[in-house]
Symmetry: C2
Subunit: 218 residues, 2 copies
């Protein structure tokens, strides 16, 4: 009893119009989880649908029943990611204490790198390839950065922190915090077995607190 047209099209538009079944919800979650694992380790082109399917414990056609193409899976992961990724930045509060605000922004970004390294690597992969799928979202980021940069400029004008270019301040924070997730393979080797656990995130937090507030001058 074939149900091709309706069966095939229902899940693909499920998120938009139809209400999703229990199985749909479970399997889609399962697939996205597996896909995050695979994409974050091998990049988009380096990942195969088969790999993702195996990791999810499904057959390839079964997986493709829930997501019509590899691109659609990737897109969904990226969309989810960006939401969480920008939250700490949104949280910067112009009425808070400037140095504390910056410190807690750094800490929150560092926690994201520690708790969601796969997401960080997914993002890094996307940007490395020239950000082909997220030009639009990057422009939203630009607006957000401009807005938050103005807060920092306000702090500078008020003489509350040292003069600097806020955009490069953000770049440096992104770079360092994400580095601990993205360059994990390098860091593990350099720190050796001793720095294997989450201890290095605490060491990093300590180092960055000091760097951003007082620098290295004695």
């Amino acid at each position: 009893m074939p149900a091709q047209k309706s069966a095939q099209s229902a899940p693909s538009r499920s998120s938009a119009t139809r209400k999703r079944t229990r199985i749909q919800q479970e399997k889609e979650e399962l697939i996205l989880e597996a896909a995050l694992d695979v994409f974050s380790r091998h990049g988009f082109r380096g990942s195969t649908i088969d790999q993702i399917a195996v990791q999810a414990g499904l057959s390839k056609p079964n997986l493709l029943y829930y997501f019509r193409t590899k691109e659609v899976i990737h897109r969904r992961l990226i969309d989810r990611l960006l939401d969480n990724w920008l939250e700490p930045l949104r949280g910067i509060n112009k009425d808070g204490d400037p140095l504390s605000e910056i410190q807690s922004y750094i800490r929150r970004k560092l926690e994201l790198a520690r708790d969601f390294p796969r997401e960080s690597r997914l993002f890094a992969n996307e940007i490395l390839q020239g950000a082909p799928h997220i030009q639009e979202e990057l422009h939203d980021l630009r607006d957000l950065v401009e807005q938050k940069s103005n807060i920092i400029k306000g702090w500078i004008s008020a003489g509350k922190i040292a003069n600097c270019d806020p955009r490069h301040l953000f770049f440096s924070i992104w770079a360092i915090t994400q580095h601990y997730a993205d360059f994990d393979a390098q860091i593990k080797v350099v720190l050796g077995p001793s720095g294997d656990g989450d201890g290095r995130f605490e060491d990093a937090a300590r180092f960055l607190d000091q760097l951003y507030v007082d620098g290295l001058r004695k």
Copy 2:
């Protein structure tokens, strides 16, 4: 007139035993240049021999006459890269002025990111995938970092710079400087058309000079 065995094997062992012909030198250089372009944009698995061949203006079998496999090309690029990449770190001099040494290390790394962004992305791609091809070299790096960390610990003990974990200091410098090459696509959008030229590297250098010496405290 077939010359299969000898013709096919000569170039493959050329670097080891035989002296290389003019054409060999030219074409190998051409291929490596093209491969750097392709690999740095798409990663190892995302790049095809055909892409590289087209970029180099050669046919695929012709390219494979000079490099027997895709891996061999990649390997050669990585080897070249690591040499230059570690040079600034080697240059840190224990007898120099501590803050100046660190500042000029940052500047040299920033110049590498500006002048060799493709190499930086090639490296980033490799580490992101878990550094499968360069475990050995990473251990050399580890030794070098330990050695240079001792220099910095010496400066700290002598009261010449603030107390900090030297390894995290290096991580932060690598992260930020390479970020300008690796996350170029993001930075371009955030800075907008104004920050398109090399001006952003000067802005970055200024920002980092200040950050690492005095931090943000007023």
